[in-house]
């Protein structure tokens, strides 16, 4: 695949250089460490620090969500690879305002190990209290009785936003953790893949799909999903995704949700809205109220084709969090 890059090995570093140059009012690095990004804005004393992160290649996730009302810092890994402990630790020390720090990331082995090591070091070296919430929104990635094995996909946007809002509201670390956990418990996602992406270093497609095939349940790194099948009309695909999501989700008529139809990278907005249209239809039929919608590229996989649907069930507390304004370089909500 053709790419607008220079040296593929330098792609992530050069991306960050460009990002920091583009938004100096929003972003700065911790010292000279390009992989340790923090907000350039003044943060309130005694605010809980929010770190979200993971591999690169998911832009605007995660570095795009640094800003007021959202994350304070993002360690950036290589493409689809957890960041190592160093930048996580650097950021932790930089953003801690005495109220402790929350780590939020998708439930992947690599992230668990690296963030875990960083949390240990933060405690040992700097006596900073770190709590962790792992996102597990992908309904097809493990059965319901093994929830803790599920991976995190685009629904993590909701969880990160809720935690960022809670921290911005001045809540304590325990309170922020409780809200993040509730947000995760209230969120379900499922995706469909149409075409692969490729790592700049290999140029090889991340998975194989025939001309008329799609992959139902695809993960955000191209991890295989439920099954490969013939592509079908948008409505029929949405029906399948929503069936899995709603079967997994404790929700009833009259309750409200936030909806995210997330593009994986190369799927036009037009198609995302066509998908959203069917999601809205199903929710209307079931008497579930759409309180707020997000349609676009919120958590991508380079130029992968396809999308996912995420629902977060909203109680009053989560409604406040989802309504909370955010001001980031790549995401602004009034």
């Amino acid at each position: 695949m053709k790419k607008l890059v220079n040296n593929p090995i330098k792609a992530v570093d050069e991306m960050i250089e460009g990002y920091v140059k583009a938004y100096p009012n929003y972003i700065k690095t911790v010292g000279e460490n390009l992989r340790a990004l923090v907000t350039a804005k003044e943060t309130k004393e005694n605010k809980v620090g929010v770190i979200i992160g993971g591999g690169a290649g998911h832009e605007p996730g995660f570095m795009g969500y640094i800003g007021t009302g959202f994350a304070d810092g993002v360690p950036v890994g290589n493409i689809f690879a957890s960041p190592p402990p160093d930048p996580i630790l650097d950021i932790t020390k930089e953003i801690d305002k005495g109220a402790g720090v929350i780590y939020l990331y998708g439930n992947y082995q690599g992230d668990i190990m690296n963030f875990g090591m960083a949390a240990d070091l933060a405690d040992l070296e700097a006596d900073i209290r770190v709590e962790t919430v792992r996102v597990t929104d992908d309904v097809v990635s493990a059965p319901k009785d093994r929830l803790e094995e599920r991976r995190g996909i685009a629904g993590s946007f909701f969880v990160y936003k809720a935690a960022g809002a809670a921290a911005d509201l001045g809540y304590s670390l325990d309170h922020v953790v409780r809200i993040a956990n509730k947000a995760n418990d209230s969120t379900r996602s499922m995706g469909v893949g149409l075409s692969p992406c490729s790592l700049p270093q290999t140029g090889e497609p991340s998975f194989e799909l025939a001309d008329h095939e799609m992959e139902i349940g695809l993960g955000v790194h191209g991890e295989p999903g439920l099954y490969k099948g013939e592509i079908r009309p948008a409505e029929s695909i949405v029906n399948e995704l929503m069936e899995h999501i709603l079967a997994d989700m404790p929700i009833s008529r009259g309750e409200k949700v936030a909806v995210l139809v997330n593009g994986l990278g190369s799927t036009p907005q037009m198609e995302l809205y066509i998908m959203f249209r069917s999601v809205a239809k199903i929710l209307e039929d079931q008497g579930i109220i759409i309180y707020r919608s997000y349609v676009g590229n919120y958590l991508t996989s380079l130029e992968m084709g396809g999308c996912s649907v995420s629902l977060m069930k909203l109680d009053d507390e989560l409604t406040t969090m989802i309504d909370h304004p955010a001001d980031c370089a790549m995401f602004v909500q009034k």
Binding site: Q109, N114, Q201, F207
Partner: protein, 216 residues
């Protein structure tokens, strides 16, 4: 047999070269099971290690220090899953050879047993989970057993590498339970786990580097 810091550095240099040859294959395995980056990650990590070998470690004589720098460098360069796993392995290994400038049969045995312990502690995977542990644990078991019998590291390690290869190959028939491919179910069958493959290559390269030292 004894090996010194030169031999150890030579081993890591050979790993660097080996990974450049094998990286496409490792990524290919990971494309089938995971996110396709395992070869890329191993390459990024060992290229960073190479930089240390060529400069900072050029005159280092403490084998333990070499392993610490390799571990930290690898981890900082890659993160990922293998970063903490191999880094913890090498750090644990470093611990049991602290301050040593030469490693005798016993140290070498301890080193690799500690390496495997480190990986297992960090990842908490068990044999049969379809991970690098399927390579490393049988290799460690045989190494221990054979070394206790004969006291000869290189012979024991030869058996260990064979056991590791069989363990690696066994991952083909396993369902994934850990890491990115753990949600694959049946579809993970038939493919060797990339981490099991790289772990085997790390072991086997150690053997060939010893053999080349011995002139075999």
């Amino acid at each position: 047999m004894n090996i010194d810091s030169r031999n150890l550095i030579n081993y890591f240099q050979q790993v660097v070269e080996m990974i450049e040859k094998e990286k496409d294959h490792l990524s290919e395995l990971d494309r089938k099971l995971g996110d396709g980056d395992h070869g890329v990650t191993m390459s990024i990590g060992f290229q960073a290690v190479k930089d240390k070998l060529d400069h900072e470690l050029l005159d280092e004589e403490d084998c333990s220090k070499i392993c610490i720098v390799v571990a930290r460098t690898f981890l900082s360069a890659v993160g990922s899953s293998v970063g903490p796993l191999y880094a913890t392995g090498f750090l644990k290994g470093a611990k049991v050879i602290k301050n040593k400038r030469t490693l005798d049969d016993e140290s070498l045995t301890k080193f690799w047993l500690a390496f495997v312990d480190g990986v297992k502690e960090r990842g908490m995977a068990k044999v049969g989970d379809k991970t690098m542990v399927d390579t490393l644990e049988p290799a460690a078991n045989i190494l221990k057993e054979e070394f206790e019998k004969t006291g000869n590291f290189i012979e024991a390690f030869q058996y260990a590498v064979d056991a590791g290869r069989m363990g690696m190959e066994s991952t083909q028939e396993l369902l994934s339970r850990k890491g990115r491919s753990s949600r694959l179910g049946q579809r993970s069958l038939g493919v060797i786990d990339p981490g099991a493959a790289s772990a085997y290559l790390l072991l086997n390269t150690f053997l060939t580097s010893l053999n080349s030292k011995r002139g075999i």
